[in-house]
Amino acid sequence: MLRILFATDFHGAEVCFRKLFNLAPRAKADVIVIGGDLCGKGLVPLVERNGSFSGQFLGTPFDVPAGEQTEEIEKRIRFNGFYPYRCSPEEIERLRSEPEHLAAAMDGALVSTVERWMSLADEKLADTGAICVSIPGNDDELVIDAALDASTRVQNCDGRLLDFGEFQMVGFGASNPTPWNSPREFPEEEIERRLDAAVDGVDPDRPLLANIHVPPYRSTLDDAPLVDEQLRPVIKGGNPVAGPVGSHAVRSFIERYQPLVSLHGHIHESRSASRIGGTLAINPGSDYSSGTLQAVIVSIDLRKRKVKGHQFISG
């Protein structure tokens, strides 16, 4: 029996990443799979003046002395998936006026965080036989790829087919176009081409598992709240209007190659499991901003090539 523990879309929330690796032994996971979107969504400056740090977070201004209180604020910022950034009043002006400087500061925060996470994963996996596989997601800047590849225990399977003997795993991190123009987006035709290329050489006699960030189109894993041109959620009758936003190419890939299990993320609100032919497609969703890890455990009988069951976790 193979037990897979899958979680996705941490968006910089270190607490969720840590929880995943703490859950793994309790879940008796043989394989830990991370579904991308590791990067946080913004930089929160802490401006230093006369030995204290000031700024604003979650709508509340703060002005605290350096030391424990500042570290506490930084912890809260990280908890919510943002990056604290200590700087001087002059640097704030540079961040505002020089886009290149801001981009470099952000990239630095992203890379150092992913590096720290990979070190943490290496450390947690050191005395275990567990396999760990990850992909970047559409929200992840390209600069983090080197940090992902540098891990000794976490294998990056973006656009690749990894062979683990008893089973094979294909990964893909980019998404179809979104209203946000995120860093890794491709047209459907390109996704189809790249997925097909990734599984070139797949052994049809051994089970194939998929770790594809974007869910298949119209699968119940891809119901996202629709947004208007101002990126406000469209609400009718008090309810967010949702619609399928998954990828047609991913659906087509699953229909044609029928992996035993297909793991997805991307749409945080669409926590669901659904059958597409013989494939069990699962999106455990994400609630990173509350520090809650949403994950799924999938039990597979590799000999019979059958999924025995799955269980959503939220904690």
Binding site: A27, G40, G42, T220, N239, S290, I313
Partner: protein, 549 residues
């Protein structure tokens, strides 16, 4: 290279005074519009039905109640709960509402037991809606046509709607229509229908009643009433009402504090339901302010609607006359199928069959829309239970085309029919029976809110609402206030013989309520836990508090 925008103040990330720099990334939506969520909550709370209860139950149970003050007392007891639910929904916006709040804060068994009880009694209350839909909606509509001069032959059909089989068949038909709405049309279709109904509901059930009440004198109303009763076959209707009430032992005693407080049992109906919007409105993070406009805002709006409607309605119909209508035998004044509810009384006062039609239709529309709303609520709770493996996976299957949990909807429909049968053919439950058990759930949610900042410290401290009042976390203070309000309401329900859950008059129902909450719910939870364990599934993992360190 990362791309950025300097975030505006209303970015839902919460940060943003110009000193926050957002990456161009998926999902950074802006504040959602509170307006629609607010509208939804106003409709969901059943304000018109509560008003109907008041004028049907108050004359016999609490004839000396000062209803505007009763409404204000109930609102005071319930407003803390509105802020509590708004805070909790902002902190944990998830399908399953209170099930998630309680199971993740106190214990999964209590979360399930509280939510199971709430859903169970929501199923039961459907019978009340079916009764009112049939008797005071469809039946009243036809009787009004006769009252305004249509053929007498319609009267027997109108009266049929108030019969046991009339209530049952109407309820079943509407249940099937509600289920078909989801199964064939999907949730978005239902929401569009609901929006359309809302306008009719507010205009018919409230605004027209206020206008008719304000511009109709009592004398003119009595004239219209006599004419209406005449068309139903009884002359001197108003005099017969007075005579019948006298025979039934009614006499006007003015207002008393005792009856005013006891009548909170009726007004509390709003607060048994108005918070339930968290099941619907909370599925995405629509922003930091949305839920605060939507839930407490809806409480204020519904209370205002009642406070405007009650005096103007009483100005027209007269408090004494309304009490007489409720206590006299309806057959003595020509209303053989039963006393009229407030929409029909307002329709009579309007002197116009067209206005009357809109008033009753607005009232009916509000009740009809409530059925699928409750269906959605229950099916979403089923989904949450199923996700946690407490219930079979089949319950969480969602149709790809309609986004509807079809199996869950069908099960709810079946349970609806059983409840409608119970109300139509038995006297197991009274109109207000469900309020005591539903408030039990509210009490547990208040407790969960009060202790959440301590049990889920990181979650709370990292939220935008992590403020302190009098040295305590804001959520703890709000949770305590809500708990006190709910507890007082619960005491009123337990001591009021009219509530249907009086500890002295209805001890069996109270015990059943407690048994379902503390017996059946935990039994299902622990039974499911053992069953899952035999399958190699550790149910506790679903709720595990995973340490980050």
């Amino acid at each position: 290279m990362s791309t950025f925008e300097e975030a505006s103040r209303d970015a839902t990330t919460g940060a943003g005074d110009g000193s926050f720099f957002a990456r161009q990334a998926t999902g950074l939506v802006r504040e959602g519009k509170a307006y629609d969520a607010f509208i939804y909550n106003v409709m969901w709370s059943g304000g018109a039905l509560t008003l109907a209860f008041m004028y049907l139950l108050v004359p016999t149970l609490y004839p000396a109640a000062n209803l505007p003050i009763t409404v204000l007392i109930a609102a005071t007891l319930g407003i803390g709960g509105a802020f509590l639910y708004a805070l909790l929904t902002t902190l944990m916006p998830r399908t399953g509402g209170d099930y998630v709040f309680v199971s993740r804060t106190i214990h999964p068994f209590l979360g399930f037991a509280a939510n199971f009880s709430y859903v169970f009694w929501n199923m039961v209350v459907v019978g009340v809606y079916a009764t009112f839909m049939s008797t005071y909606g469809a039946g009243a509509l036809l009787r009004m046509l006769v009252g305004y001069g249509a053929s007498d032959s319609l009267l027997s059909t109108a009266d049929w709607f108030a019969s046991d089989w009339g209530i049952f068949i109407t309820g079943v038909v509407m249940t099937l229509v509600a289920a078909a709405t989801f199964i064939l049309g999907g949730t978005q279709f239902f929401f569009r229908l609901q929006q359309g109904t809302f306008v009719l509901y507010i205009i018919g059930a409230f605004l027209l009643v206020v206008l008719v009440g304000l511009f109709t004198s009592h004398a003119s109303f009595l004239g219209s009433f006599n004419e209406y009763a005449q068309n139903l076959g009884t002359s001197n209707g108003a005099a017969n009402v007075a005579e019948g009430a006298k025979k039934a032992g009614y006499s006007d005693t003015g207002y008393t504090a005792h009856d005013t407080i006891k009548a909170v049992s009726v007004a509390w109906f709003i607060f048994g339901f108005i918070y339930s919007s968290n099941y619907f409105a909370g599925e995405i993070k629509t922003g930091r302010r949305t839920q605060f406009y939507a839930i407490p805002g809806a409480v204020v709006a519904v209370v205002l609607l009642l406070l405007i409607t009650i005096p103007s309605f009483q100005h027209m119909a007269g408090r004494d006359f309304i009490n007489q209508l409720g206590t006299a035998d309806p057959a003595t004044y020509g209303f053989a199928a039963g006393a009229p509810a407030y929409p029909e009384i307002a329709a009579i006062g309007s002197g116009s069959p067209i206005l009357g039609f809109i008033i009753i239709l607005g009232f009916l529309g509000g009740i009809v829309a409530w059925l699928p709303m409750t269906m959605m609520l229950a099916s979403r709770c089923f989904l949450a239970w199923s996700f946690d493996k407490v219930m079979p996976e089949k319950l969480s299957e969602v149709d790809e085309r309609t986004h509807s949990p079809i199996i869950a909807v069908l099960i709810v429909a079946l349970l609806y029919i059983l409840s409608i049968a119970a109300y139509a053919f038995t006297d197991w439950f009274t109109t207000l029976t469900v309020l005591f058990p539903e408030t039990l759930t509210l009490l547990v949610v208040a407790l969960a809110g009060a202790i959440l900042p301590y049990r889920r410290r990181e979650l709370y401290e990292s939220s935008a609402r992590a403020r302190r009042v009098l040295g305590l976390p804001l959520l703890t203070v709000v949770g305590i206030l809500a708990f006190v309000g709910f507890l007082i309401a619960e005491i009123i329900l337990l001591t009021d013989p009219g509530s249907g859950t009086s500890i002295t008059e209805n001890p069996r129902i109270v015990l059943i309520s407690l048994g379902i909450f503390f017996g059946v719910g935990p039994l299902i939870y622990f039974g499911s836990r053992a069953w899952r364990r035999s399958q190699g599934i550790d149910l506790d993992l679903a709720y595990a508090e995973i340490p980050p360190e």
